[in-house]
């Protein structure tokens, strides 16, 4: 069959078009993807949760603005940082005098300003989470009064607040900082912490993220106003409950045959993902899985209930790929380290140097620390 020149041209053009159309789709996949997303209508539950989380954001923004309104202009300058500034990673478990925090120091603000700052923290967290935070802070005051802070203002050292000063503990040594402008739409962040406490809450529209955060405690048990307080007591007890709910074979999988003396993913380990170890939750029965989720909730549930519910649902969806690892004694009261690691969560519980009265923990999401998934670079 003979073909004319225009026919050849048409055939060539068709082949080229066949080649380039998918190529164009590969280069511009966003349109197709967004159409797909627009095609799936939101469920009633997600709409309800979305409304609730948006209401929480409004409440947190109002609390932040109320706090800012109590400050003088120089204080506002001191407390505010750019959202993408290096301040984001400027947190630690260490006390003042060893680690220099930025932002407003509680010892340098008035009781009214301090109350407004705490109201902001309370607005972002759950009731239990805020209680945990205050228990940790009060524990540090106990540590200070017990002499833990007696190096404060060591002769020859600069005065309080200055670099190189003595180690300082107690309620005055907690700092608050805001990264970005409080907004119901644009991303911003609340950073609150001091010795044994680093709470980083990133707010992006209706979403709140609390990773990475470091709740720790020393002393792990103290008495205040006649009440015995264990800031991380439930984390300890629930961990032991879970390891003891496993049968012998499961324990063999979960218990590491080596000592873990410290946090592996502590401060400074941003962006690292270690190989998971221990027993996968896919090998646990429903009751054991519920215990594992209960352990996880001790950290996730520090954040406000609405955001915590969304995070727990995500962790539950990834449960088969979530591991539980244990090192140490299995009888409550003994010395033990444990780790929960899944695709979107890493939790470590680590007594320090064999001291049951000094506990460090860390809570991370390797995919969403500082709201990385929600914030466009």
């Amino acid at each position: 069959m003979r073909m004319s020149r225009p026919a050849w041209a048409a055939l060539s053009l068709a082949l080229a078009a066949a080649a380039f159309r998918p190529a164009l789709l590969l280069v511009f996949p966003v349109a197709a993807d967004s159409q797909q997303r627009a095609g799936s209508p939101p469920t009633a539950a997600s709409t309800a949760n979305g409304t609730a989380t948006a209401a929480v954001t409004t409440k947190v923004v109002e609390a932040a603005n109320a706090f800012l309104a109590t400050l003088s202009a120089p204080q506002r300058t001191k407390v505010t940082f750019g959202f993408n500034s290096t301040q984001r990673t400027g947190w630690s478990n260490l006390p003042s005098g060893i680690f220099q925090r930025n932002g407003l120091r509680f010892g340098d603000i008035t009781p009214r300003q301090r109350q407004a700052a705490l109201a902001l923290v309370a607005a972002a967290l759950s009731r239990e989470g805020y209680q945990k935070v205050t228990d940790i802070m009060n524990g540090d005051e106990v540590l200070k009064n017990a002499g833990g802070g007696r190096t404060g203002g060591r002769p020859g050292g600069p005065g309080p607040g200055g670099p190189g000063g003595g180690i300082r503990f107690g309620l005055d040594e907690y700092y608050v900082a805001l990264l970005g402008t409080p907004s119901a739409i644009e991303p911003w962040m609340i950073q609150f912490g001091g010795h044994h406490l680093a709470i980083n809450v990133t707010v992006v529209g209706p979403h709140s993220v609390m990773t990475p955060s470091l709740p720790a405690a020393q002393p792990a048990k103290y008495t205040l106003n006649g009440q015995t307080i264990r800031p991380l007591g439930r984390e300890n007890d629930k961990g032991f409950a879970l390891i003891n709910a496993l049968n012998r074979g499961q324990q063999k999988r979960a218990i590491l045959d080596y000592r873990v003396t410290d946090l592996v993913m502590g401060p400074g380990a941003d962006g690292k993902v270690i190989q998971p170890e221990g027993i996968p939750a896919s090998e646990l029965d429903a009751g054991q899985q519920a215990l594992l989720l209960d352990v996880v909730h001790e950290w996730v549930g520090i954040l406000n209930d609405e955001a915590a519910a969304a995070k727990m649902a995500e962790i539950k969806a990834n449960l088969p790929k979530t591991y539980f690892a244990w090192s140490g004694a299995t009888q409550n009261g003994g010395l033990a380290y444990y780790r929960v690691q899944g695709p979107t969560v890493v939790i470590e519980y680590a007594p320090q140097q064999g001291d049951l009265d000094h506990i460090h923990t860390i809570y991370r999401d390797p995919t969403n620390d500082y709201g990385a998934k929600l914030v466009r670079p």
Partner: protein, 230 residues
């Protein structure tokens, strides 16, 4: 008994208690050596973080500050980093591989004295065989065994062609042995799509450029010549 002989240890003990910072219960008499291994097809990277407890800080500082000028010069830091790496044995498939120092940073003595300053060493080793299949890496750190505690972990590889097996460690985490598999480098679906598209585009261009001319030539040849008509 000579009273001075009795008092002297007491005085030394009191002096020690007065100078050791009671920074809560920060690391005191342990030298924490935490290593993370990052495995790639042609290399293994090591991140070694060393934190001396407050009671050990002076000793550790003295190991590094060899000229005793109370500062860690870059030469002293480099020498200490290499000393640490000499205590490290890294093997791939059973064969020792040389570990090269890639970077080191040292804290102020003040921070070390409080038991919180961390020495950070970064090192790398070339893996001789990058072939697909099963491999094994083993790491052992024996630096300052007498006073150290250790952590060693493998990072999840960034390269999807590497799959890690179960790690094995000794109780004190001085070492780690890890089997891993390098998956053969097959073209990804994306690569295959692009190859197909490129092929189609090339065919289209060839047809456009030569197709018509070629068929014309064939047609001309197959036409009976005037001589034949004769």
């Amino acid at each position: 008994m000579n009273l001075r002989r009795l008092y002297l240890p007491l005085v030394v003990l009191c002096a020690w208690l007065a100078t050791v910072p009671p920074a809560g219960a920060h690391r005191l008499d342990e030298y924490l050596q935490a290593t993370r291994l990052s495995i790639d097809i042609q290399r293994v990277d090591l991140e070694i973080d060393l934190t001396a407890g407050a009671a050990l800080a002076s000793n550790v500082f003295a190991w590094i500050d060899t000229n005793r000028d109370a500062e860690i010069s870059s030469a002293e830091g480099d020498a200490y980093a290499r000393q640490v790496l000499r205590s490290v044995v890294l093997k791939v498939d059973g064969w020792p591989v040389p570990v090269t120092l890639a970077g080191a940073s040292f804290p102020q003595f003040r921070d070390m004295r409080l038991g919180v300053g961390t020495i950070r060493l970064r090192a790398t080793a070339k893996v001789p065989s990058a072939a697909a299949g099963r491999h094994q890496v083993s790491f052992l750190n024996t630096h300052r065994l007498e006073s150290s505690v250790y952590l060693v972990n493998a990072l999840v590889p960034e390269n999807p062609r590497i799959q890690l097996g179960d790690p094995r460690r000794d109780r004190g985490q001085h070492g780690l042995t890890l089997d891993y598999t390098v998956i053969a480098d097959t073209p990804s679906p994306l690569d295959r799509t692009f190859a197909l598209l490129a092929g189609l585009a090339m065919l289209g261009w060839l047809l456009w450029r030569f197709g018509y001319t070629l068929t014309q030539a064939v047609a001309t040849r197959s036409r009976p010549s005037p001589a034949g008509r004769r």
